[in-house]
Amino acid sequence: MTEPHTCTDYESDMIAAASGEAAPSATARVGRHLEACDGCRDEYMRYRALDTAVAELRATAVAPATDARERLLARLSDLRLRLVRYAVFSTPLGRLLIAATGHGIALVEYVGRRDGSDSWLFRQRRLELEADAPALERFHGELMDYLASRRTRLEWPLDFRFARSDFQRQVLRATTDVPYGAVSSYAGIARDIGRPSAVRAVAGALRHNPVPIVVPCHRIVGSSGALVGYSGSRIGLKEQLLGVEGVSVGHRHREAEIDRSKMYAWYRSERAYCLPTCGAISKQPIGAVTLFASAHEANSLGLAPCGDCRPDLHPLGA
């Protein structure tokens, strides 16, 4: 680079050099000029003095903000309890709102409006809501994969804080254990949590499941196989979700019910699973037996094919 001609050309480099910001080549250039130019040398010394004064200002002790930091941390922990991130996604089931706290997914809700403003969330006064689609996109993606049968598990961190009672939390946890493509009953869940007579209470707890689909309440039906209900009056969605998992649903007297003739059955006390035609197993209430849409799911639970009816030799739908 050629040397600049006038003092003005050096000014910017000189200011940079005086505060130690100039590149070595520029510093050298300025140095050469200062040797020859008294006016600029004087100017340079002023900028040096200014830089020293600024350094003094920078080093000025500012009272430590420890108290302020403590107050901030208190505000933060309060916000952390109340902050809920949410987003509304379009899915084959309609619009779904997914909401998360710092601990996990706390709400999956069927909503009507694109902005989710008809959600239960917006009626809660203590919450601070933050629309945050990027943070929830991963869950949306996994949900879409599940609905397209590309994924059989949604292993999401869950936060049951919107559950209404400890009893409901127990029910939700027990329901989470019912595997993909399997069907149990309200009575079955009641027995699983050690409250065999609380069948109606279990049904009530699942009707208000805050995280449907992830906590698979659609896999829980009446003991007779009737679908009974889903998220208010959305029984069609229940049928759709069961369909995703390969469970076939028939209709009798205008009522939807599980088609047991197309499902393997497992006596909860046995280690083997059977064809629906094995002995009197088809007369057993669901709950006493768990049904499976595919032998694969039964096998992956560690169950063996029954030695009498041999579901391995005579697979359903073959």
């Binding site: 910017s12 200011i15 940079a16 505060s19 002023r46 900028y47 003095a49 200014l50 004064a53 600024v54 003094e56 200002l57 920078r58 080093a59 000025t60 002790a61 500012v62 009272a63 430590p64 903000a65 302020a68 930091r69 107050r71 901030l72 941390l73 505000r75 933060l76 916000l79 952390r80 902050l83 991130r85 998360a100 710092g102 601990h103 996990g104 997914i105 933050e130 945050d132 990027p134 943070a135 929830l136 996109e137 991963r138 292993e155 999401w156 961190p157």
Partner: protein
């Protein structure tokens, strides 16, 4: 894109909330000092620093993993300060701010001693009179020692423009200091 939530296998104590607490512990002092320099008031600095971190917490979940947290927080703090200026319509009373700074400086003993250098105190006054962008750029560069890329991000301009703001501020301060020195020389002679 980083995720807001702990992955299923993450240990429960490694939640992002704790990560954020580390960010507060690391940067609160700097952000508070920066806002203190900008507002000249301890109480306003505390409010704005609080606002900065609460906003940051809300945005933290969607933050790209390679984000420079310090630079990011200065950007939020700068925006918080500028919004504050706008809403309070304090621009017209810059001189009042200058007086406040002097008063508070005098109240805080150690600071007053540190500022005993008359030049530093004059600079302080001059900074308050700079146009907003120059004042922000100068404070971030010369007092908070951020790089020009970060300052540009905070001011929504290029690093080059940020540098130009800082140099413009330096020129002004030098000119005013010059006048100040001349006046003093005249008084003493």
């Amino acid at each position: 894109m980083m995720h807001a939530l702990p992955l299923p296998n993450a240990p429960p104590d490694a939640t992002p909330s704790d990560e954020f607490e580390v960010i507060v512990l690391t940067h609160h002092r700097d952000i508070h000092r920066y806002l203190r320099r900008m507002t000249g008031r301890v109480s306003e600095a505390e409010d704005l620093a609080q606002e900065t971190f609460l906003r940051a917490y809300r945005a933290f979940a969607g933050l790209p993993p390679d984000t420079n947290h310090r630079s990011w927080l200065y950007t939020i703090a700068t925006n918080a300060y500028r919004n504050h200026l706008r809403s309070e319509r304090r621009r017209k009373t810059v001189h009042a701010t200058v007086r406040v700074i002097r008063r508070e400086v005098e109240l805080d003993g150690p600071e007053a001693r540190a500022l005993a250098g008359e030049v530093a105190s004059v600079i302080q006054t001059v900074i308050c009179r700079l146009p907003l962008k120059q004042r922000l750029a100068f404070t971030m560069r010369k007092l908070e020692e951020l790089d020009y890329e970060s300052i540009g991000a905070s001011l929504d301009c290029s690093a080059e423009t940020a540098r130009a703001h800082v140099f413009q501020a330096l020129r002004k301060i030098r000119t005013i200091l010059d006048g100040h020195a001349t006046r003093r020389a005249r008084r003493t002679s």
